[in-house]
């Protein structure tokens, strides 16, 4: 990269280039490994993994039970293992309880099933408000809870990572797991939104 003209770079881009070049020269990092890590989280690990877990739980009661009782083993059985997913807990939304996941102290997030967290998840507004005013957070996302529904917030203070299993939308009784996966959004697995309604995807189904 040293042959690039750096003058057009932002200060942070310039700083990172200098840092990467220094650490490479010192033998601490291999730029090709960085490319590979970026490629992994841009294309191979993301919310599609979590959607597969959720759709399977919706369609296979035994898997749902396993997920509830030992999320780590159930999720690892699908090949979703590794960094920031070593110890998993799955929490299930229903009409009486809605779950919401946050990390108030940093940005803990279940990378193996959701990929890297979005900016809002790591931001002071979300991290501060999720625990003291979770209903206000849901309002910010336009999410209206059923009347009488409780909110359980999970603050990821340890190395356990939380996956929210949203409620299966009505009108999907005859859908396959592959079809259902398209209803399971990243935000629905953090708990700030619900899974999509069937009509949101049926048109191109």
């Amino acid at each position: 990269m040293s042959d690039h003209n750096h003058s057009h770079l932002s200060p942070m881009d310039a700083r990172m280039r200098a840092l990467e070049s220094l650490l490479t020269e010192k033998g601490y990092i291999d730029p090709a490994a960085l490319d590979e890590i970026i490629e992994t989280y841009q294309h191979r690990i993301g919310p599609q993994n979590g959607a597969a877990v959720v759709a399977k739980a919706w369609t296979e009661p035994d898997f749902a039970d396993w997920l509830r009782n030992d999320a780590t083993a159930a999720i690892h059985s699908l090949g979703f293992t590794g960094r920031q997913g070593e110890h998993m807990i799955a929490v299930f939304n229903d009409d009486s309880t809605h779950h919401l996941v946050v990390c108030t102290l940093c940005s803990c997030y279940p990378w193996t099933v959701l990929g890297l967290p979005p900016t809002w998840y790591k931001s002071p507004p979300y991290r501060s408000k999720a625990v003291i005013d979770p209903r206000g957070v849901l309002d910010d996302f336009g999410t209206k809870l059923p009347k009488g529904c409780a909110v359980e917030v999970h603050d990821s203070t340890a190395e356990t990572r939380y996956l929210v299993v949203p409620q299966r939308p009505a009108g999907t009784e005859d859908w396959s797991a592959a079809q259902l996966e398209r209803l399971v959004t990243r935000n629905s697995m953090i708990g700030t939104e619900f899974a999509k309604n069937p009509d949101a995807v049926q048109a191109d189904g």
């Binding site: 490994a33 979005p118 910010d140 340890a158």
Partner: protein, 219 residues
């Protein structure tokens, strides 16, 4: 520490705003920063709790306004400087001036997949039994260490109920000081929102935190 990172329960940051069609990275440097921090883990010069402490001890005003990956960059530079892996002058101009330190390993592209898949489990074997059982009422300690801790301010000196026993895990307060072998029983503890926030909270609501035995006393 009660630093800029301890955000739970703060007010005044405004609504949570989701960026439409947010890209995975907002600039080239963000992608490189994420990957660099992940890759440097292989060097074996710090553990995850030392890394978190390096970030949370940034000046609070910086912590609150920097883009998140910049917090990572500042943290990793601080760790490398503290250990003598790099010199300030080297960071200044991006060229090596002193011999590198020996590291555990350099992460190569062909090993990335295996390393990411392996991860780094935090559970450790135990010969002890957990002191608390599911259903027990427990109170958190009220301590304000200047070092790293994972008991946030909003949950100190509060009473909750053990909702799960999660295993015997590396204890961050000690790991952040380099004592990476110390582990304690880890519990999920459920606090009613009213216990944490008073009468303004909805009586149905609750918050769970995952807390180690040294954070807890029997009620």
């Amino acid at each position: 520490m009660n630093g800029g990172q301890d955000l739970g329960g703060m007010q005044g940051f405004g609504p949570v705003v989701e960026e439409a069609d947010e890209p995975q990275f907002h600039a080239h440097w963000e992608a490189r920063a994420m990957a660099m921090v992940v890759a440097l883990g292989a060097a074996g010069k710090w553990n995850i709790d030392q890394s978190r402490h390096a970030r949370e001890s940034l000046p609070p005003a910086d912590y609150l306004r920097f883009p998140y990956y910049r917090i990572w960059v500042e943290g990793v530079c601080k760790l490398m400087l503290e250990r003598g892996m790099v010199m300030p002058a080297e960071l200044e101009n991006g060229t090596m001036l002193e011999e590198p330190l020996e590291i555990a390993r350099i992460l190569r592209a062909e090993d990335v997949e295996a390393v990411l898949i392996a991860g780094g489990p935090a559970d450790r074997p135990s010969t002890s039994q957990p002191k608390l059982a599911v259903g027990d009422v427990t109170t958190t300690i009220n301590a304000h260490p200047s070092g790293h801790t994972r008991l946030p301010r909003y949950a100190r000196g509060r009473s909750g109920t053990v909702s799960a026993i999660l295993g015997h895990h590396v204890f961050p307060d000690k790991a952040a000081k380099g004592e990476a072998d110390v582990a304690h029983w880890l519990y999920q503890v459920r606090f009613s929102a009213r216990e944490l926030w008073g009468a303004q909270a909805d009586p149905r609501d609750g918050v769970t935190l995952d807390l180690w035995e040294p954070y807890l006393v029997a009620a």
